[in-house]
């Protein structure tokens, strides 16, 4: 059932990696996700956008099997709720918006936690597990940090450590919840480019939730706009990032600039006051 995943995927045949059909999630008496259906292709990059509290995080959590849901969530054809914790974790890696980084833990040990779903209950990591985690550290330029404690890392280094842990998990589906929220504009680009490289190298399916609409449109092949728990628009960035949709669902006044080189640029629309000119 778990045949070793081949590292290079044939580019032509695109199968569905994640299938959501009529997914609803109720948390604390509130409907947080309502009747969402979507199919995400293997090796693709999908972006979840929508205002605060729209349900983006909960959709990601349902794919990772962390919340009970109604409807059906399938990864690689398997129903998440029936798959069991370990097996979900071998297929789906989640980078939460605010990961818990135990200050005392060494970077190497933290990245090694990514191997947890591959280690049997009372055994310990094999030399292969140590090798995979080492490769992840190397890939994210963290080898020099292996013995450092997490508490001593900068914001960008911490984000790389979290990504290294997710990579070490070797799950074909990578979920990122606001991966760039705490980073400056340079680090944001670096992290997303890195994710894109990893996606191509390893044939990962990437799903991220993003607030920055321009970045979301530049990296994602498809955007899913959610508002109040419902999927209200889906398609290529240019189809979803329209002035009307953003105005309706974000209550924001924006100007959309379609740039042939940069793609869709979303700019807040506010005329400069005359006194400032």
């Amino acid at each position: 059932m778990t045949s070793p995943r081949s590292p290079s995927h044939s580019v032509g045949a695109r199968v569905s990696a994640v299938e959501l059909s009529s997914v609803s999630v109720r948390l604390g008496g509130t409907d947080v996700v309502r009747d969402v259906s979507a199919v995400l292709e293997e090796g693709g990059w999908a972006g979840l956008i929508g205002p605060n509290g729209a349900g983006k995080t909960t959709i990601l959590r349902s794919i990772a099997g962390l919340v009970p849901y109604a409807g059906s969530v399938r990864v690689g054809g398997h129903e998440v709720a029936r798959l069991g914790r370990m097996r979900v974790a071998r297929r789906v890696a989640l980078v939460p918006q605010e990961p818990v980084l135990p200050e005392d833990m060494r970077v190497a040990d933290y990245v090694l936690l990514g191997r947890t779903p591959h280690v049997a209950a009372f055994s310990r990591e094999s030399t292969q597990d140590l090798g995979v985690a080492g490769t992840a550290l190397e890939r994210l330029d963290l080898l020099g940090f292996a013995r450092r404690r997490l508490g001593s890392l900068s914001g960008g280094e911490r984000q790389r450590a979290v990504l290294a842990r997710a990579i070490a998990q070797e799950a074909p589906i990578l979920l990122l919840d606001e991966p760039t929220a705490a980073l400056d504009v340079g680090r944001q680009q670096q992290v997303l480019e890195l994710v894109d490289d990893l996606r191509r190298e390893r044939g990962l399916t990437v799903v991220f939730a993003m607030h920055d609409l321009t970045l979301a449109g530049q990296f994602a092949e498809r955007l899913l706009l959610v508002d109040d728990g419902r999927l209200v628009a889906a398609g290529e960035p240019a189809e979803v990032l329209t002035e009307e949709l953003v105005a309706t669902h974000y209550g924001a006044s924006v100007r959309i600039v379609a740039d042939p080189e940069l793609g869709v640029v979303v700019v807040p629309a506010r005329a400069l006051a005359e006194a400032d000119l």
Binding site: A89, A93, M105, R106, P117, G131, E138, S152
Partner: protein, 347 residues
């Protein structure tokens, strides 16, 4: 790709050797120190003479032999077992609840054991107390934790937090009951207090044999779960996303730690501070991974309590200090020192 290999997260052999040397040193001191002077050589000869197939004559008199092998040695072994349990279970609770201030009594063990022991002291006929106090303390401790777990689980939702709150509630209730029983039987207050302050008194090897199976079970369980406790360090949600059944891991750790703590409390009363100071000292020395902290806490705690007991029975000899007084009096400044040093050397 794949050139780099990680250092293993298991404790370095050096630390295990150092902790073991500390324990052996403390044990030797524990056997040698006492009102009657008996030399190392004589003790070794006597020990050899007790072994089968070794023909060495003992130079000890019968009384001296009894002092070493029926008084001092069982007491050293009991101290080591109790210390190992308190430190190891303290470390385990700190990991399971991600709370650095957790001690082995967190979920009501102390209050439950206290109630059990007090009831026996108050109501059982004098001759039976020796056997009944440990049994009642053990049962009381296990019942208290079971009730706390039941309440915490039914509250649901917030996982570790509701469990800790339930522990506080159960501890208050059991303590109230214990105080009531105690007030009703004022004549036994002295005996209850001496139990509560903690002591390592032995009648030969009986106490050692009582707690040995529980201690072994608990130690094995905790060491096996060290890796999973490290996963819990990233929080319940992320641990679940890494494939861990968080609730089950926490339950197993609580059961193992409760069995160990209850057994320790049953034979030694309430000895404070060991369960916090030893794991934290080790954490400051070797880092936060429970795969290192758990085994080293077991060994280090054993040595620490044996040493504390040597002090407890020599400082005001021929009288004895309650060992809980010693652990706090010497432990607190030592811990302050370690804390200071770690600030200086932290990079």
């Amino acid at each position: 790709m794949g050139g780099a290999r990680l250092p293993s997260p298991r404790p370095r052999a050096l630390w295990l050797v150092a902790a073991s040397a500390f324990l052996v040193g403390a044990a030797v001191l524990g056997v040698l120190v006492g009102p009657v002077h008996i030399g190392v050589g004589a003790i070794l000869r006597a020990a050899a003479s007790h072994l089968p197939l070794v023909h060495v004559g003992s130079t000890l008199s019968q009384a001296e032999d009894a002092i070493v092998f029926e008084l001092r040695l069982p007491r050293v072994v009991l101290g080591a077992l109790v210390g190992a349990m308190l430190a190891g279970c303290g470390a385990a609770f700190q990991g399971a609840f991600r709370n650095p201030l957790a001690d082995p009594y967190l979920l009501g063990t102390a209050a439950g054991a206290g109630l059990g022991a007090t009831m026996v002291v108050a109501y059982a006929p004098a001759g039976t107390r020796g056997v009944l106090v440990p049994a009642a303390a053990f049962v009381g401790a296990v019942v208290a934790v079971a009730v706390a777990y039941g309440i915490g689980r039914s509250a649901g939702g917030r996982g570790a937090v509701s469990l800790v709150l339930a522990g506080v509630v159960v501890a208050s209730f059991f303590t109230a009951l214990q105080t009531y029983v105690q007030q009703q039987n004022v004549d036994t207050v002295q005996e209850v207090y001496s139990w509560i302050l903690g002591r390592l008194t032995t009648a030969g090897w009986r106490e050692v044999l009582i707690i040995l199976p529980y201690a072994a079970l608990s130690a094995v369980g905790l060491v096996l779960y060290g890796r999973l406790l490290d996963v819990l360090a990233v929080g319940d949600e992320e641990a679940a996303s890494l494939g861990i059944d968080v609730r089950r891991v926490r339950l197993v750790v609580i059961v193992a730690a409760t069995v160990g703590t209850a057994a320790a409390v049953a034979v030694s009363g309430l000895i404070g501070f060991v369960g916090i100071i030893v794991p934290h000292t080790i954490r400051l020395l070797v880092g936060g991974s429970y795969r290192a902290v758990l085994p080293l806490s077991l060994i280090g705690g054993a040595g620490f309590l044996v040493l504390a007991d040597v002090i407890a029975r020599t400082v005001i000899a021929p009288a004895e200090l309650p060992i809980g007084v010693v652990t706090a009096f010497f432990g607190a400044p030592f811990f302050a020192l370690v804390l200071r040093r770690s600030r200086v050397t932290a990079t």
